[in-house]
């Protein structure tokens, strides 16, 4: 079986932001604010992790008249698992740091 690709720290940041509010649908602007990523990096990550099934997306109704519908994102079970795996990979290096 192919080994799952390692997540970059920026991808982990996006997944962490999504996992911090697992039931909410978050917009791109909110994610950019939470992760401090610029749109140039954020959307590349969103596209990649969406293709890997780590997040789900949907169009939400506009908040007011004259506003366009917005694309929103939520972490999936696979995303939570990938985040947990990434965290367990980081743990040994934290231990080494403490020594």
């Amino acid at each position: 079986m192919a080994k799952p690709r390692k997540l970059s720290s920026q991808t982990v940041a996006v997944l962490t932001a999504l996992a911090s509010r697992p039931t909410d649908w978050l917009y791109g602007l909110e994610l950019a604010k939470l992760t401090k990523l610029k749109s140039g990096s954020l959307y590349l990550i969103l596209i990649r992790i969406s293709e890997r099934g780590l997040l789900e997306s949907r169009w939400l109704e506009p908040s007011g008249p004259g506003r366009p519908p917005r694309h929103a994102y939520r972490i999936t079970a696979a995303g939570r698992k990938a985040l947990a795996d990434a965290a367990s990979e980081f743990r040994p290096s934290f231990r080494e740091l403490r020594i």
Binding site: Y27, G28, L29, K38, S39, G40, S41, L42, Y43, L44, L46, I47, S57, R67, P68, P69, R70, H71
Partner: protein, 190 residues
């Protein structure tokens, strides 16, 4: 949303291609909500579209960059033999220029052979641009003359004004790509 943001998102849409329509719509919707930050947001979105397209089509991106390098190397190899042969045979100056222009056609042909016409023409135009940049940069390194020299009176590319010379080079790449696309192996533009 600012006019600049709208323009950048239109560019991003054409760079990203049809596969990414939903994502560009998503970026545009956020730009609409970003207020005064919409231009910065759109710059990032355009950059994301470029990086995503390069990542998806890295072979084509590599070809766009490497084929002009190959043309430059070939022109370097051909330079002295062509000059000596021309002098020996008493050929006029324009024949040298013609040789250096014609050698670009097969490289455009290669692009046309592997991509549908519209994409091959865009790739050929980009390769032609890369070749021009290689020429400008190598002249800069070799003779210490910056890019401004190409806009001064008397400068020549392929024995004509730089703009006309670059246009001639571009037409060779486009012609090659067009010929190549007639023998195309790829599916037509979607």
């Amino acid at each position: 949303m600012t006019g600049t943001a709208r323009f950048l998102l239109r560019l991003a849409r054409s760079v990203a291609g049809r596969d990414r329509t939903e994502w560009i719509d998503a970026m545009a919707a956020e730009a609409e909500s970003a207020g005064v930050e919409s231009t910065n947001w759109a710059v990032g979105c355009f950059w994301a579209a470029v990086k995503d397209r390069i990542a998806r089509e890295w072979r084509l991106a590599a070809a766009i960059l490497l084929l002009p390098v190959a043309v430059s190397a070939l022109e370097l190899v051909l330079f002295f033999p062509v000059i000596f042969l021309g002098r020996y045979a008493g050929l006029p100056n324009w024949t040298f220029v013609a040789v250096f222009l014609i050698v670009q056609i097969p490289f455009g042909f290669l692009l046309g052979r592997s991509k549908p016409l519209r994409r091959a023409l865009i790739a050929a135009a980009l390769s032609s641009l890369v070749l021009d940049v290689i020429g400008v940069v190598s002249f800069w390194i070799e003779f210490g003359q910056g890019p401004q020299i190409w806009f001064e009176k008397g400068s020549q590319v392929y024995n004509v004004t730089p703009i006309l010379g670059w246009a001639c080079s571009l037409s060779m790449w486009l012609a090659g790509a067009w010929f190549g696309s007639r023998k195309n192996l790829a599916t037509p533009d979607a």
